[in-house]
Symmetry: C2
Subunit: 518 residues, 2 copies
C-alpha cells in the first residue's frame, strides 16, 4: 500500500479512507527487537565459571562422538585427540576456536527493509517448523500439503512480530521426500520477503539451498552476507551425526549461520537435574560451535538447543515447566559468557488442541525466553502437540503474543512523562481521563489491545456467538489470507529458481531416502 | 493422615500402602515462598526518584479526597492541610508516617504449620475473591451459594501452593447481603486451617471479622499477631471512600494488615501511559498507607493495587498485556523503595471459558508478578471473565501453575552437581540416563510434572476420551473433594463462632444494604 496515495484528491479521503485502512492488514514488520529490560540471570560469576569448568572437563575427559568421517578428519587436522569416532578437546583449543564466532549477525532479507540483527540484546521471532500434521483453517487435524506450507509462509509474512518465514513450518506431504527441500525453500522465498531458514536434511540438500540463495541474492552475495539460517540437532548425550554435520558444512562453508542445537529430553538424555543438564548441553553446543570454526574461521554460528523435560509418568516431553525456564535463564548467561548469539524455542507445548494448556505453556515460555535474553527465538508461532502439528489458530495467537512480548521487552517509555503529569493535575481527584488531550493523543500506542482476546461482557460475547479464541483466530487468518499481497520476485530470478528446481528434481530420484546425502 | 501409622504392623505395608498414599491428596502446604531469582527492575535509582518525586508532588499540590468525616478529622489532627474533603500532604509527613510500617509480616494461621511470612523476598499465593458467578463442577455458569464457597475453601485448603483460603471467593447469593460477611468468615475459618482474608464491606462488618478472630485465636492474640488480611480499594484517581476507610480502621486498630489498593483502569482513571499511571497509583497507595499509620502507628499495612488497562475498542478492562507486566515491575521497585510489603493480582483475564486466552493471560501475569517480586499474590486461582466468575477448573489449573511458579522462583539447586557430573561420565556419549542411580534418586524432585497437562501422544489422548484441560481439572477437583478431610475446629470455639453469628444475624436486619455501616 502506498501511504501517500490516500491523500490524493481522487481517492476517498477522511473517514471512509480511514475505515478502509483499518480493514487492511498492512504487512509491515516490527524492526529488530532491542530489549531494554534487565535480564533474569540466576548465576553469579563463580557459578558461570563452575558450569564452564564442568563443560570443559566433559570435553577434555569424556569427549564427543562425531559419527562422520569428514568431521573426524577435520578434527584430527585441527589437533584434537581422535579415538575412533570419539573426539577429545583441550579447553584452550575450544576457547580459541569459538573466539572467532561473531557476537552479532545481520540477517539479510530480499526486501532490505526486513533485514534484521541478532546477538547481544538484539532478538527476532521465527515461526515453528517441522510439523508432520497441521490443524487447518477449519481446525481439522490432517496431513499438510505444499499449499498449506505456502499458507503459513503468507501468514508469517503478514504477522508484524514474526521476522522470518522459516522453512518447513509443516511438511509438504504431497511432494516426495527427496524433492521437498527444493519446494520448501522456494515457498519461503516466494511468499515472503522476510528472512527465512534453510533445510539441513543432508549435505547435498544444504548445497541446493545455497545454490537457490545464490540465485535469489546474486552470485557472491552470500560470501559477505548472512541470508539463511540452518539448524543441526545433536543426539544428546554428546553425539553429532553425519547428516547434520554434512548440512552444517554446506552452510558454514558459504558463511551462513547454523544453530548448533543439542536436543535435550531432560532426565532421559541428560542427568535428572537442571544445573548439570546445562553443563552437558553446554559441552555439546560448544563442540559443534567450535567445529563451525574448524570448517571456516569467522563464520557466523548460533548457540542452540531444544529443551524439554521428560514426564516420569508417561515418558513424554513436557514444556512450560519451571526447570525449562530456569535452564533458559542459565543458557542465556552461558551464551553471553562466550559472546555467541543464542537460539531458544518459544511456544512449545504438548496440548492436542488450542486449549488452556497450550496457552499456559506458551505464555510461560514466551516470558521466560524474553527474560532470558534469547536472540533467535524459534518455534514462536503455531507449535502444539509436542511439535506434531502446527495449528493455524495457534499460529495467529502466538504471533500476536510475540508482538505483546516485543512491546514488554522494549521496556519503559518516559517521553510523555511531564505531559501526562500535567494531565493528572488537570483531571484531579475523582475525574476521568477519557476525553483529555493526552489520552486521545496517546491511547493507541499506550496500551496493547490484542485483537484475538475477547474482553467484552459475557452477555455481549454470547450475543456475538460465544466464539472461543480458536474460532476468532481462524476467522482472522481467513481475513489475512484474503488480503495477502505477494511480494513479487523478479521474473528472471523466479524463472531461474524454477529452472533450478526442475533440473534438480530430474537429477534426484523420488525414492531416495530423506537422509541420503543428496 | 498420620504418616507414622503406615509403618504399624496392623496396616498393610509396602507397595499397597505406597499405592494408597499416591491416591490421596495430602493437604500439605508449601512453606513461605522465598524467591532466590533476581527480580526484573526496569528503573534505575534516578527513575525511581523521579516517580517518587512526581507522586509526592501530586500529594502536595493536587491532594487526595477522603470522602469520610472521621478520616478528615484524623488528617486534620495529624497536621495535613484539609480543604473540604481534599487532603494535601507534605512529603516529609508522608515519609515519616510510612516509615513505621513493618517491612515484613508474619501471618498466623490457626494451624501453626500454615503460618506464613510476607514482605522482602517472602511471598504467598491467595486465591481470587469476589466473583458474583461461578463455573461449577460441571462447568455450568450460575449464581453461587454458601456451599459453593465452602467447596472453594476446601480446594484452597488442599492446594499446596495456595497459602490462604481468602474470603468470598464467590458471593454466597443464598444469604442476605448484610449477613454474608459472617457466613463467609466462618466458612474460611471452618474448611481450612490456612490463613484467610476478612471482609471489608463496612466498618461494622470489619469489626465483626475482628470479633470472630478473637473467638478463633483467643482474646488478646490479635494485638501481637497478624491473623487476617483486609483489602480496601481506592476510587482512582485520588479518592478513598467512607466504606473502605471505615473497614480499614476496624482492621488497623486491631493491628491487622490491610491492602491499600488503588483500582487502576489504565487510560480511563489514569493517564494513558504506563509510567505516569504508576506515579498516580503510587501517590494513591502512599496516601492510604500513610493513613494506616495515623490510625495506628506501627500497624502492618500492604502496598496494593488492582491493575488493568482499558481496551479503546470496547472500554473493557484487559489483563496479561505488556503494560501490566511493566507496571508490576515498576510498582515492585517502588514498594521496595519504601520498604513496604506489596500486593498484586495474579491470574486476571477476560476469557469467558477456560480457553487458550485464559491460559495466555494467566501465565503471562504469573510470570510477571514473580519476576516483579510481589509478596501478597492475590487472585492466584480461579479468576476469569474479568472477575465475574470463579471457575472450578481454572482454580485447579491456576493452583498447579502457582506450584510451578513457586518452583521456578526457588531458583537453582546445586546440591547434586558433582554427583550428576559423575553420572555424565558414567553414561558417556550416546547412552541414556533412565536407569542410572542418580536419575532414580532425583527424578521426582528434579522436574515438575503437572498433573493437569496432557503430554501423551495424540492417539493415546484420543483413546482416553480426548479430554481437554477443563475436563481433567474438574475430574481432579471431584477427586480432591472426595478425599477432603476437615481440619476440625475446637468444639467450644466452633460453638462460640456459631453463637456469635446467630446473635449478629438477629441484630442485623436482612434488608440492610451492603454498604451500611453495620
Amino acid at each position: 500500500m502506498d501511504a501517500s496515495s490516500s491523500d490524493t484528491p481522487n481517492r476517498a479521503g477522511g473517514r471512509s479512507s480511514r475505515r478502509e485502512k483499518r480493514k487492511l492488514h498492512v504487512p509491515s514488520m516490527l524492526p529488530t527487537l532491542e530489549s531494554r529490560l534487565p535480564l533474569t540471570e540466576p548465576m553469579d560469576e563463580d557459578q558461570i565459571a563452575r558450569i564452564d569448568d564442568a563443560s570443559m572437563s566433559i570435553l577434555e575427559d569424556v569427549g564427543v562422538v562425531f559419527r562422520d568421517p569428514v568431521a573426524l578428519d577435520d578434527w584430527r587436522s585441527a589437533g584434537a585427540r581422535v579415538e575412533g569416532d570419539l573426539v577429545k578437546f583441550d579447553r584452550a583449543h575450544i576457547r580459541s576456536l569459538i573466539s572467532s564466532i561473531p557476537e552479532t549477525i545481520t540477517l539479510h532479507a530480499r526486501n532490505p527493509e526486513n533485514t534484521i540483527g541478532l546477538g547481544g540484546r538484539k532478538s527476532m521471532f521465527i515461526p515453528m517448523t517441522g510439523a508432520p500434521y497441521l490443524r487447518d483453517l477449519d481446525d481439522d487435524r490432517r496431513l499438510p500439503t505444499l499449499n498449506d506450507l505456502g499458507m503459513f509462509h503468507k501468514l508469517a509474512h503478514m504477522s508484524p512480530a514474526l521476522h522470518s518465514s522459516a522453512h518447513h513450518i509443516v511438511e509438504p506431504m504431497d511432494h516426495p521426500v527427496p524433492h521437498r527441500h527444493l519446494q520448501i525453500t522456494y515457498s519461503s522465498m516466494k511468499y515472503s520477503d522476510k528472512t527465512f531458514m534453510g533445510m539441513t536434511t543432508s549435505g547435498k540438500n544444504g548445497e541446493d539451498v545455497m545454490d537457490m540463495c545464490d540465485i535469489l541474492f546474486g552470485a557472491g552475495y552470500l560470501e559477505d552476507h548472512a541470508v539463511v539460517v540452518g539448524n543441526i540437532n545433536g543426539n544428546s548425550p554428546l553425539v553429532w551425526d553425519e547428516t547434520m554435520l554434512g548440512a552444517m558444512r554446506a552452510f558454514v562453508r558459504r558463511n551462513q549461520p547454523v544453530l548448533c542445537s543439542p536436543f535435550v529430553l531432560g532426565g532421559a538424555n541428560t542427568p535428572a537435574s537442571t544445573v548439570p543438564a546445562v553443563a552437558q548441553l553446554n559441552a555439546e553446543a560448544l563442540s559443534a560451535l567450535a567445529y563451525t570454526q574448524v570448517v571456516r574461521k569467522g563464520a557466523p554460528a548460533i548457540y542452540g538447543h531444544y529443551l524439554s523435560t521428560v514426564s516420569m509418568r508417561s515418558g513424554a516431553p513436557m514444556a512450560g515447566t519451571p526447570e525449562i525456564s530456569l535452564m533458559n535463564f542459565m543458557i542465556g548467561q552461558m551464551a553471553r559468557f562466550y559472546g555467541v548469539p543464542w537460539r531458544t524455542s518459544n511456544t512449545l507445548g504438548g496440548a492436542k488442541t488450542l486449549d488452556a494448556q497450550a496457552g499456559y505453556e506458551s505464555a510461560t515460555t514466551l516470558m521466560a525466553v524474553l527474560m532470558a535474553g534469547a536472540n533467535y527465538i524459534w518455534h514462536s508461532a503455531g507449535w502444539n502437540e509436542a511439535g506434531m502439528h502446527c495449528s493455524v489458530a495457534k499460529f495467529m495467537v502466538d504471533a500476536e503474543q510475540c508482538a505483546m512480548g516485543y512491546r514488554m521487552a522494549e521496556g519503559l517509555r518516559w517521553d510523555d512523562f511531564d505531559e501526562a503529569l500535567s494531565a493528572i493535575r488537570d483531571i484531579g481527584p475523582g475525574g476521568h481521563y477519557l476525553g483529555h488531550a493526552h489520552t486521545l493523543e496517546n491511547f493507541e500506542r499506550a496500551f496493547f489491545m490484542p485483537s484475538l482476546f475477547d474482553n467484552n461482557s459475557f452477555e455481549q460475547w454470547q450475543a456475538e456467538g460465544a466464539q472461543d479464541v480458536t474460532a476468532r483466530a481462524l476467522s482472522m487468518a481467513r481475513q489475512m489470507l484474503n488480503e495477502y499481497e505477494e511480494p513479487k520476485l523478479d521474473v528472471a530470478i523466479n524463472d531461474a529458481l524454477l529452472d533450478y528446481i526442475a533440473r534438480r528434481e530430474r537429477e534426484i530420484p523420488e525414492d531416495k531416502g530423506l537422509n541420503e546425502t543428496y
